[in-house]
């Protein structure tokens, strides 16, 4: 099938990052003492790399559930902005005969990585664009579930001392920060984030810094709206 083969070609750039981050998150969960079934379930239903890594910390630190909910909402709030670009397209796919389920499935499997792939997707005339988008989202989801579960199972079998592997989460975020810093129109948002995080590291203590730091950043960014230049939101379709 043309659409399947074309979709497989599109996901090559993120194959390794999904495999590596998935393995790392599975390993982390195993190291914290959780069975592979939990890695499988969280990959299948949560399907958000940074959140699944933060989840391990939340599980082991005994944070109350309402804090887990609030932190997830804040950390994943960026997804709200991804969806905006694909409303019309995904809805059109869901309107095809017998494919209504694809609309919610595609909406819920749009991650940082798949969003970036779909944004730069160029499909030849003779191939069905909707099908390609669906297969890209499906294959990435399956790859993620497989690598998270594999990481957890391998962790059980490998007697190697993996202390320090948890640094891969920090490393992932540092790499993203560098990317954002280089492509940003203004460095003010990153500086505001850094200052708020450091301030609340001291004010609310290291473990409680995320929520107040994020709220502070949102407030400061809204107040400084006129002073921060941004290009118009890019439209991902050509």
């Amino acid at each position: 099938m043309k659409a399947v083969r074309f979709a497989l070609k599109q996901i090559i750039p993120l194959l390794f990052s999904y495999l590596f981050v998935g393995l790392a998150s599975g390993l982390l969960l195993h190291k914290a003492g959780y069975a592979p079934i939990w890695a499988f379930l969280s990959a299948l239903f949560i399907y958000a790399g940074s959140m699944q890594i933060v989840m391990v910390t939340l599980m082991t630190s005994g944070v109350p559930l309402y804090m887990v909910a609030a932190m997830t909402l804040f950390i994943n709030a960026r997804h709200i902005f991804y969806g905006i670009s694909f409303i019309d397209e995904f809805r059109a796919i869901g309107k095809r005969k017998g494919q209504a389920w694809k609309y919610p499935y595609m909406a819920l499997t749009l991650t940082d990585e798949t969003y970036s792939v779909l944004c730069s997707l160029k499909v030849p005339e003779e191939i069905d664009r909707g099908k390609v988008e669906f297969y890209i989202l499906l294959f990435c989801h399956l790859l993620w579930v497989a690598s998270c579960t594999l990481g957890s199972v391998l962790g059980q079998m490998l007697p190697v001392d993996m202390t320090g592997i948890e640094f891969s989460a920090t490393a992932l975020f540092v790499a993203v920060v560098v990317n954002q810093w280089q492509s940003a129109d203004s460095h003010l948002p990153a500086i505001i984030g850094l200052l708020s995080a450091i301030a609340f590291y001291f004010i609310s203590g290291p473990n409680g810094l995320i929520l107040p730091a994020l709220s502070m950043s949102v407030l400061a960014l809204v107040l400084l709206q006129k002073r921060i230049p941004t290009h118009a939101l890019e439209v991902p379709h050509d």
């Binding site: 997830t72 902005f81 920090t170 560098v178 994020l214």
Partner: protein
């Protein structure tokens, strides 16, 4: 059993909240376009969020006693340097993590 329930509850809550953030635009803006302030936050908020996450990841580092978080800080510099130099996230994450795992076993044992 309570452990199982607790774990299932945490995964369930995180999944539900993630679905809400992913599904919200389809529910909110299906008919009208989002207000400018939302589009603006969509552009600028990710940069603030990611650097807060970096600080959060480093929160348990012992900065006040020797070696003053040297393993963490050096490894962060390695990741940033690799990312600036080769622009390959996978390579930067791999090198930085390997660097950290080696440093805490050799130069700065915990």
């Amino acid at each position: 059993m309570t452990d199982t329930l607790q774990t299932a509850a945490i995964i369930g809550i995180i999944a539900l909240m993630t679905w809400i953030t992913r599904g919200l635009p389809y529910l909110l803006f299906a008919r009208k376009s989002p207000p400018p302030v939302i589009e603006y936050l969509g552009k600028v908020l990710p940069s603030a969020i990611m650097i807060i996450l970096v600080v959060y990841c480093l929160r348990n580092t012992a900065f006040t006693v020797t070696p003053y978080g040297a393993a963490e800080l050096l490894s962060v510099l390695v990741v940033a340097g690799m990312q600036l130099w080769r622009k390959n996230s996978l390579l930067s994450i791999f090198t930085g993590t390997a660097c950290y795992m080696i440093l805490i076993r050799t130069a700065f044992p915990m």
